[in-house]
Symmetry: C2
Subunit: 291 residues, 2 copies
């Protein structure tokens, strides 16, 4: 996890609340907790909080933490559904059995559905944000998560097995599948901190580049990564004959592309000065990570 | 369909827009359209619009129509997921093959996910509503759809096969599984029309009773109904050995209970006078329907 330990602890306690409001069936809460507590990299919350700190340079407010949590809820729900047998059929996730293996498929479908709803509920209910900020965030998050974003990208990804894609098509797919939610993470942090349109635009350019870099590095790790560090099966994309950056650009070409995207992301932060240091550090972590 | 034909046409055109924004993959849009266009009873949009008319007695505003559509999006997504093999394993829905039979399971999971996101996006983007109204609606809708509502109720329902339930437990399950979204339909219509807390409370009592009546009648139709009119397999609950009102109360007892709930729902509307006539008519339709 990239976040400092105090904030990470705070996020974890929010995850527990998110999964277990009073009225939730204990099995459903346990299943949600199983997936949320599996210890992902928490990159989306970190980007959200990093964006808010870039704008305000002040302490992370409670509202920003809540908003950061909603991004991990959406991300986790998408992993739960993507792992299902009818989708990517992945038995392992974050080093543990996938939710549908640890529980069952019906529970995995329902918990995914419930986490999505909970994300929107949490934003609607967040403290210290204006109704206008909340509406703006919900629109951004829904578009990023939905058919024009993550869901649409996953659909294209599933169809892509055994198919040829140009670099442009591959990029368009990833911009929907993972990029949209990463860009939304930055937008939500920015909105929470009262960013101007110009500041949101800079965060968005950073987000677009770092989102693509994230995927290029994922493709590199799928070839070079240590399955134990990754916590999931390596070599899966090649085995499934899916288009990847490594396949289209070669391993060296993919590394050059990741470096180019990292630089473009960091350049986009120029207007912010030192207040964007956390986002710069995150960008380097995303490109240099081993899992 | 219960709605008058002009409004029904208007809703259908909104469904088309909801399923097919510019950026959506044509296959995903076609699958969403397949389920949305299958011609359900549109009871939730009708309840939402009926509630708005009860409060304002004026023409149905564009914003109310958009909000009414979001309830059908959530309902349709839940039917798509409930029909999946890992859940209720239903091959037929609204007289046509279920989405996962007409397309495939992955598409059904993703389209359901996408419709849920779209519902929240449409409220965030609705015309002529204040940000406060939108936030309030999104909170109500997310709670009704989520782990404390529809998702949680469906989880209990799946576990209920071959189990015994008391009448109280059966009622609690249905209040989550179908009642919560029906109550949300009335709340959203009321909020759109600027209802007072007292008015929202009356709509909620009506909704709780009519929601339960809806389920009692469903159980009666599962025993007595004509599969062709229903557009789905009858006798399925008995076959699956699920607890039902008919099993707990007998056929006559269930009919008496439906009549009691209908009366309680209509009594809750007393404060509104004639402006609630559409909701009264809807209540009678819900109890007297044959499908």
């Amino acid at each position: 996890m990239f976040l400092d330990s105090k904030l990470a602890f705070e996020l974890d306690s929010y995850f527990e609340q998110a999964a277990s409001p009073m009225e939730v069936h204990p099995d459903v809460a346990a299943a949600a907790q199983y997936s949320l507590g599996a210890g992902g990299k928490r990159i989306r919350p970190a980007l959200c909080i990093g964006a808010a700190k870039t704008i305000t340079s002040s302490q992370c407010k409670d509202s920003t933490t809540v908003v950061a949590v909603t991004l991990e809820l959406i991300h986790t729900y998408s992993l739960i559904h993507d792992d299902l047998p009818a989708m990517d059929d992945d038995d392992m996730r974050r080093g543990k059995p996938s939710l549908h293996k640890a529980f069952d498929e019906a529970t995995a479908i329902l918990v995914g559905d419930g986490l999505q709803a909970r994300a929107f509920e949490l934003i609607a209910d967040a403290p210290d944000l204006s109704a206008e900020q909340k509406v703006c965030m919900i629109k951004v998050l829904a578009q990023a998560a939905g058919m024009e974003g993550m869901v649409g990208g996953q659909y294209i990804d599933i169809q892509a097995v055994d198919s040829d894609m140009t670099l442009d098509e591959l990029q368009a797919m990833h911009e929907m599948k993972t990029g949209a939610l990463i860009q939304a993470s930055l937008a939500l942090g920015g909105i929470a901190a009262g960013a101007s349109d110009e500041q949101l635009e800079a965060l968005d350019i950073y987000g677009r580049n770092i989102g693509l870099a994230f995927q290029v590095v994922d493709d590199i790790l799928d070839v070079e990564g240590d399955p134990e560090a990754l916590g999931k099966t390596a070599g899966k994309d090649a085995e499934a004959n899916k288009p990847t950056y490594v396949k289209l650009l070669g391993l060296d070409g993919a590394k050059t592309e990741a470096a180019r995207l990292l630089q473009a992301a960091i350049d986009a932060l120029d207007m912010f000065g030192e207040s964007a240091d956390q986002l710069r550090e995150l960008a380097r972590y995303i490109v240099e990570r081993d899992r």
